[in-house]
């Protein structure tokens, strides 16, 4: 596992930060981001897929009232792929009719898997295969502005996960970034760096760190290891390891 990885640095892999508006569709936006990133890495072709298709064509038919990321992948498998965001754009409400058949598919998946709940294995998969979706407890995000959140089970229950986001990388802070070190000048302080995950949210680019946030890596912060799920793109027999920038 490399010490740092940031798929945002790879051109065409991570699309722009989305805004879910008044629609509880984080699950669909994270799944779309996962498919886009995997497709760009495996096929070396940048695509932006339709979140609206996931909402309109899901088996439950009420995609703006929440959902599970695996429902998004089942919809992609049932529809043999997804249309482009340009052809089938996001409306912020569920349409009356699934319009999947009207548009050409721009990306498709082979299947989807749940990874191990081991953060080191998740980092390895992220670095060698690409971004994945995770479901976290979003409680601390209501007041979050920037920096690395280092939660405890008391401040952020890892069992109560309620928000799906895209995991796009990991890194570590320089020792000078630790707030305790700069705030408590009279105390002897740790100069250790903090390892973190980089996550893409769907609350617009004006929220957090330009639409992204960072969570401590190595402590199952906010339940990040509970549902690490990814679509698989490309043929399973073609082993094609990639390198995260």
């Amino acid at each position: 596992v490399p010490s740092t990885c940031d798929w945002r640095k790879a051109p065409g892999v991570i699309s722009s930060v989305k805004y879910q508006e008044n629609c509880l569709c984080c699950w669909a936006m994270a799944a779309a981001g996962n498919i886009e990133a995997q497709w760009a890495i495996k096929h070396k072709e940048s695509v932006e897929v339709s979140v609206q298709e996931l909402l309109d064509c899901g088996r439950c038919g009420d995609g703006c009232r929440g959902g599970y990321v695996w429902d998004a992948y089942i919809t992609v498998l049932n529809n043999s792929g997804l249309a482009s965001e340009k052809n089938y754009p996001f409306q912020g409400v569920v349409g009356k009719k699934c319009q999947a058949k009207k548009y050409k598919k721009v990306a498709w998946i082979q299947d989807f898997i749940m990874l191990s709940d081991n953060e080191q294995k998740i980092a390895w998969y992220l670095a060698t295969e690409g971004p994945i979706t995770v479901t976290i407890n979003m409680k601390l995000l209501q007041q979050y502005k920037n920096g690395v959140i280092r939660a405890t089970p008391t401040t952020c229950d890892p069992q109560h996960v309620n928000h799906v986001v895209l995991l796009v990388g990991f890194g570590k802070t320089k020792s000078v970034e630790r707030r305790r070190a700069k705030a408590v000048s009279s105390q002897s302080h740790s100069r250790q760096s903090t390892q973190y995950w980089i996550l893409k949210n769907s609350w617009g680019a004006n929220w957090g760190e330009e639409g992204y946030f960072r969570l401590h890596r190595g402590s199952n912060a906010c339940g990040i290891t509970k549902y690490p799920i990814t679509a698989r793109v490309g043929k399973p027999d073609k082993k094609q390891r990639v390198s995260c920038p």
Partner: protein
């Protein structure tokens, strides 16, 4: 002559002023004075909560005024969470075995 008024320097913003700045920044308006008062109260509680989080956090995170500062925790969960999964995500058995591509 011995009594001098010292310049106290710039005074901290009052809660209401901070709330007004929040309303301007995030384009918030409320239907009536009672709703305004309720949102101001929620805003104050959230600022206090952000301050607590700031003090307790062991990382480098900064907490404070955000676009969600006039929402209760319940409203925030209902408006932005993954409601279907909220608190009742199914128990999924983890498959034992390989993460490799060959797995069925």
């Amino acid at each position: 002559d011995s009594f001098r008024v010292q310049d106290p320097g710039p005074r901290p913003l009052e809660l209401r002023e901070v709330f007004t700045l929040f309303q301007i920044q995030y384009n918030r308006s409320y239907s009536n004075p009672a709703e305004h008062a309720r949102r101001l109260d929620i805003f104050a509680r959230n600022l206090a909560q952000a301050q607590r989080l700031q003090e307790e956090d062991l990382g480098t995170a900064n907490f404070g005024v955000t676009p969600f500062s006039d929402l209760t925790e319940e409203e925030f969960g209902q408006l932005y969470g993954n409601q279907r999964a909220d608190g009742k995500a199914p128990s999924v058995d983890r498959e034992t075995g390989s993460d490799e591509w060959e797995g069925s």
